[in-house]
């Protein structure tokens, strides 16, 4: 009996840490797709970029953890702006197929670029000394870094939700997601808003990629490998929703960890089957809008 409890706690713990990473990466995608109606399959590239910058600064230049992660986030945000204004903008409202193809092309380019710049192997990630090792929580020991991930994730999520509830920027985003034309007629600068929201989403993805480098290894094919998980979080959570993907990420994170632990011969098979069932039952996602 105590074995079952111990296993459940373990699954919940690791699942929660995984969920935090998934959410941080995916929330930006939900906003992009809900706000601009743009199918951005290249979203994972920003997560990978953040991870690459952070890990290479830490391992090759001995930069500290916090500054390295910050650098990754800033780089991603800076790169996202010209990408949105020059390229993505042309395809807002275009055929879904065109958006898919454009972003797939970008992903392919990023995979090659990653391999060229950093080589084909996964980037080593060593958490700072303060966050390494084990920590005692109650009667058990848990890896410190993962505990940090959970706490940091919770803090970030709360800050994000409060920010979107309380600030004008957040209100504008919510209005524009709800009804783009109405928002424009009320004087909201949707063009600038889109760029800002896209940059924010990319920055969050980079944060998720950098912090989560221990769970989702940083390698050239990162954006392709994990694309399906990001898409699952967003479509099950509901496009344009901020909270929906959080619960979807929780569900996915815990379920994935659980299935892989209890039924490793099946791998992620049940996750996909579960996604199919959920999306058939609620095609707009659990918290989706029209």
């Amino acid at each position: 009996m105590s074995e079952i409890v111990a296993a459940s706690v373990s699954i919940l713990f690791h699942g929660l840490a995984f969920a935090m990473v998934l959410y941080l990466v995916s929330v930006g995608l939900s906003v992009t797709m809900g706000l601009m109606g743009f199918v951005n399959l290249a979203h994972g590239v920003f997560a990978a970029l953040g991870g690459y910058i952070a890990t290479s600064l830490m391992t090759q230049m001995g930069v500290g953890f916090a500054p390295a992660v910050a650098a990754g986030v800033v780089t991603a945000m800076v790169v996202s702006v010209p990408l949105e204004r020059l390229l993505y903008r042309r395809l807002y409202g275009a055929d879904e197929l065109a958006q898919v193809l454009l972003t797939v092309g970008l992903v392919f380019m990023s995979v090659a670029a990653g391999k060229f710049l950093w080589g084909p192997l996964a980037q080593p990630f060593h958490p700072p000394a303060a966050l390494s090792g084990q920590i005692e929580l109650g009667t058990r020991e848990f890896p410190t870094y993962r505990s940090f991930l959970i706490v940091a994730g919770a803090v970030l999520v709360t800050a994000l939700w409060l920010g979107l509830e309380r600030t004008r920027f957040g209100a504008q985003i919510r209005a524009a997601v709800d009804n783009r034309r109405m928002a424009q007629s009320v004087g909201i600068n949707t063009s600038g808003l889109f760029t800002a929201a896209f940059a924010l989403g990319s920055g969050l993805a980079a944060l998720g990629g950098a912090l989560g480098a221990e769970i989702l290894a940083i390698e050239p094919a990162y954006a392709l490998e994990h694309l399906i998980y990001f898409l699952i979080v967003v479509s099950v959570g509901g496009l344009g929703s901020i909270r929906g993907p959080f619960f979807a990420a929780l569900l996915l994170g815990v379920a994935d960890t659980g299935f892989k632990y209890l039924l490793p011969e099946f791998g992620a098979f049940f996750i996909y089957a579960l996604t199919l069932v959920v999306l058939l039952w609620r095609p707009r996602g659990l918290f989706g809008y029209a």
Partner: protein, 333 residues
């Protein structure tokens, strides 16, 4: 001629023109002339040629659902891979007869298409796109984990393919080339027939305005499911051709890479005019063959760049470019 007779002539000529759209145009013989010619002009490249022909069939099957019915899928490799593995497993477990293997593979792929389509085609937009990806990834995962059956990441080996209609599969790929060419031709005839039938015309209606199709009494869901299943069968045949002629099946046949690549190949040639695959597939595969020899990493970069450029500047692919060129030439004349 009285005015009345004159209008009747016009009416009849319009109806005639409309009714004759399905007639064969001489230009449609070109791809086959080129394919047959290539056999004699490039005797050292017949193995690649066979691959190209089989992949054209894969692209053709995608054109039916994407170009004609307007269904955007990221998981078409699911049916392709099913066909490949079924044909491979048959050959590896004692039944190496190619043609029957092809037909059984087609049936298996059609089943996968029917079942997944019945589920997936109830949705639309991003959800549909996602679910096509989920189905393909599920199959990939299943093939990966069932490695005692499929060989997993190492791939399925030990395939023994028997001679097709008395012709041995030789080392030069001559038999493989003709096998693929004839199969492609027959499947193309089928595809062409479907496209010009009333059913095929209704698919273009579904693609142009689905809402309107409901409003004229069309059973949209069943039409889409039917073409999805047929396209699945054709994709399965394509996969079986590849596995039979290379005598190997790896996990790659079910990968997102494969689904993405065939999408790109079709886009390069242009969707919805039945010949996009005939142009895009050889273009892509020959380029890839050249590049892979030089540097496989750069290949990914350049094909990504080409895709981005095509989407931004030439969204109708070669068809669109050709169309624009033809119109420009007509203006000069």
């Amino acid at each position: 001629m009285t005015a009345e007779a004159a209008t009747h002539v016009t009416a009849a000529s319009v109806v005639d023109a409309f009714a004759r759209r399905h007639r064969f145009h001489w230009a449609e013989a070109l791809p086959w002339i080129v394919a047959i010619g290539a056999f004699f002009v490039f005797p050292d490249y017949l193995a690649l040629g066979a691959q190209i022909l089989a992949t054209i069939l894969f692209g053709l099957s995608l054109d039916l659902i994407l170009g004609y019915a307007g269904i955007v899928t990221l998981g078409h490799a699911a049916c392709f891979g099913t066909g490949a593995y079924v044909a491979g497993l048959l050959a590896a477990h004692g039944w190496g007869e190619p043609v029957s293997g092809l037909l059984i593979a087609a049936l298996a792929a059609a089943l996968v298409g029917f079942v997944s389509g019945a589920v997936v085609l109830r949705t639309q937009g991003l959800t549909l796109l996602m679910l096509t990806l989920v189905v393909a990834t599920m199959l990939y995962e299943a093939a990966n984990k069932a490695n005692t059956i499929t060989g997993g990441a190492d791939g399925l080996s030990g395939m023994d393919v028997w001679p097709v209609l008395g012709f041995h599969f030789d080392l030069y790929g001559q038999t493989a080339y003709w096998y693929c060419l004839v199969t492609l031709f027959l499947c193309w005839l089928i595809a062409r027939c479907i496209v010009h039938s009333p059913f095929g015309r209704s698919l273009t209606g579904i693609r142009e305005n689905e809402r309107r199709m409901h409003a004229i009494g069309s059973p949209v869901f069943w039409r889409r499911l039917t073409i999805y299943t047929i396209a699945a069968a054709l994709a399965g045949i394509s996969g079986a051709l590849i596995s039979q002629t290379t005598q190997f099946v790896g996990l790659g046949v079910l990968s997102f890479d494969r689904s993405g690549a065939i999408l790109i190949m079709l886009i390069l040639g242009g969707v919805g005019w039945l010949y996009g695959a005939f142009i895009g597939v050889p273009l892509y595969m020959i380029m890839q063959d050249r590049f892979a020899a030089v540097d496989p990493v750069y290949w990914y970069f350049w094909i990504g760049l080409i895709l981005v450029l095509v989407v931004v500047f030439a969204p109708s692919g070669a068809y669109g470019l050709g169309d624009r060129l033809a119109r420009a030439l007509r203006r000069r004349a």
